[in-house]
Amino acid sequence: MAEFLLDFEKPIVELEKRIEALKGLEGVDSEIAKLQKQAEKLRRKVYSRLTRWQIVQLARHPRRPYTLDLIPYLFTDFTELHGDRGFADDPAIVAGIARFRGRSLALVGHQKGHDTKERIRRNFGMPHPEGYRKALRIYKLAEKFGMPVINFVDTPGADPGVGAEERGQSEAIARNLQEIAILRTPILVIVTGEGGSGGALAIGIGDRIYMLEYSFYSTISPEGCASILWRDSAKAPQAAEALKFTSRDNLDHGVIDGVIPEPSGGAHRDWQHTAKFIADQIAQALAELEGLSHEELIAKRIEKFRKVGKFKTIR
């Protein structure tokens, strides 16, 4: 695959390449050390002041690990299950069962593609109603067999086409929200990339929501917001600032439970370590949730949903 570099990545990667080129040569150790220090400094400088728009670009990076990329690092015995039993199998959402550190659980996640063919086959990770319905089917399966559910969220949004409307996109999303609220098993959500509106939400709520450091979760895409606000989707960077939707923002808003750090330079530079950080978070969350009875679990979950919202009472 051709290398894809974001503008702000370029100077860092150039330095890294110079370091690579020097490696193995005689008498350049001090030069390498110097360059490495320089690279680390530059990396820290760039990544400590990322704009929200830069974070969007990282979240959408074509080498970002998707659900099927992460699964081999996180789970064993992964068995993909297909279809909503009503209409079709939606390739934009993958689902299945697997083992995590010795215990079985259910998985649901958006799936994008790394090349053009796969991107098209996966509809760029934009689900149709049958995708949400497949997810719900797996949730019910998980409930039945006492397995926790892990969701991986990375979608630009719900499919904006004719078929999705004909097959009741609204109903499919709404029903998932209703059923997730009272599902008798723990549900974890990891937002790994784009948390795009209703398409994300339908598999994006649960007992715990975590976001990878360079991901976002939003009610509208920055482009959509910009075209409503300023009639110009090119103003997406400004819209990203206005929407305040990064992992840190959402943690500050009290809407999510934690931010999962990414390896230096972002998840796309090191899938394995990204998976390691995710695995640690999953283990911790499961340990917290598994002691609860179903009733406690659901009561706490609904209480959590109820608390979200900011308003005041004027009399």
């Binding site: 904006p160 923002d249 308003f311």
Partner: protein, 286 residues
């Protein structure tokens, strides 16, 4: 632009306003010139083509609820602009001034043909009837009140805006919040009825507005997730007439009944009386 030929021909806004101020106005659909007072007496339905003019929550209260109207609860909740979003405060203030409402929803206790209910209605006139924290909170509280008082919950929507962009993630999270309350109502076997009016879209349609035990829609209402203009941009062609309208949803199985505004009250009352027959002890097990 989305073709609305059958239901809504291109309109000349200036002309319309002029007419609206006077005694006469033009049907948005068939172009018939109508006498305002007559229209008001016939539920704002065009006598010639059955077009349902948009009416606000006050008119719905008058048309649907028994004498006494709405005993409103949870008044005084107002938004706080949590993201300090561009122009939100101004937009809120002008909506408030224009509509006389504190937010895009009213909710409370009511009676429909002798049946005590909890009733709530969103209003398109207030920021498109979009759902921010206040609308979500009031829907949630109305559902809880229905649960606490063991009364059916009748929810009317006119929400073209879906989740209110200006409140960002807080708006989006009103969808699970309201849907969770509906889940609890259902577990308690309390009837939940949706009345969908023009338009009900996006985040509202994809949460509490699609979850009724029975879903009733007014004729010709635009109901869906993605807006027709966005779909047309995506697919690069015009949508057929009637796409995402009530009748389309009926045909595809997402609405139970398309019901004239004239018959709404009787229909809701009949359904409620059937669902809540006194001899049927609701089972507490789910």
């Amino acid at each position: 632009m989305f073709s609305r030929k059958n239901l809504r021909p291109a309109r000349n806004t200036r002309k319309k306003t002029k007419l609206k101020d006077g005694l006469w106005l033009k049907c948005e659909s068939c172009g018939e010139i109508l006498y305002r007072r007559e229209l008001d007496q016939s539920c704002w339905i065009c006598p010639k083509c059955n077009f349902h003019f948009r009416i606000g929550h006050r008119k719905y209260i008058e048309l649907l609820l028994d004498e006494g109207g709405l005993e409103e609860v949870d008044k005084g909740l107002v938004p706080v602009d949590p993201l300090r979003f561009p122009k939100y405060k101004e937009k809120y203030r002008s909506s408030r001034k224009k509509t006389g409402m504190e937010e895009g929803i009213v909710s409370g206790r009511a009676v429909i043909q002798g049946i005590e209910v909890i009733f709530a209605a969103t209003d398109f006139a207030f920021m498109g009837g979009s759902m921010g924290s206040v609308v979500g909170e009031r829907v949630a509280r109305a559902a809880r009140l229905a649960l606490a008082e063991h009364k059916p919950f009748v929810m009317l929507t006119a929400s073209g805006g879906g989740a209110r962009m200006q409140e960002g993630i807080f708006s989006l999270m009103q969808m699970p919040k309201t849907s969770a309350e509906v889940a609890l109502l259902k577990q308690a076997h309390i009837p939940y009825i949706n009345i969908l009016t023009h338009p009900t879209m996006a985040g509202v349609m994809a949460s509490f507005a699609s979850l009724g035990d029975v879903i009733i829609a007014e004729p010709g209402a635009l109901l869906g997730f993605t807006g027709p203009r966005v779909i047309e941009q995506t697919i690069g062609e015009k949508l057929p007439p009637g796409f995402q309208r009530s009748e389309f949803l009926l045909e595809h199985g997402f609405v139970d009944i398309v019901c004239s505004r004239r018959d709404l009250r009787e229909t809701v009352a009949r359904i409620l009386s059937l669902l809540a027959e006194p001899h049927k002890e609701p089972s507490t097990q789910t």
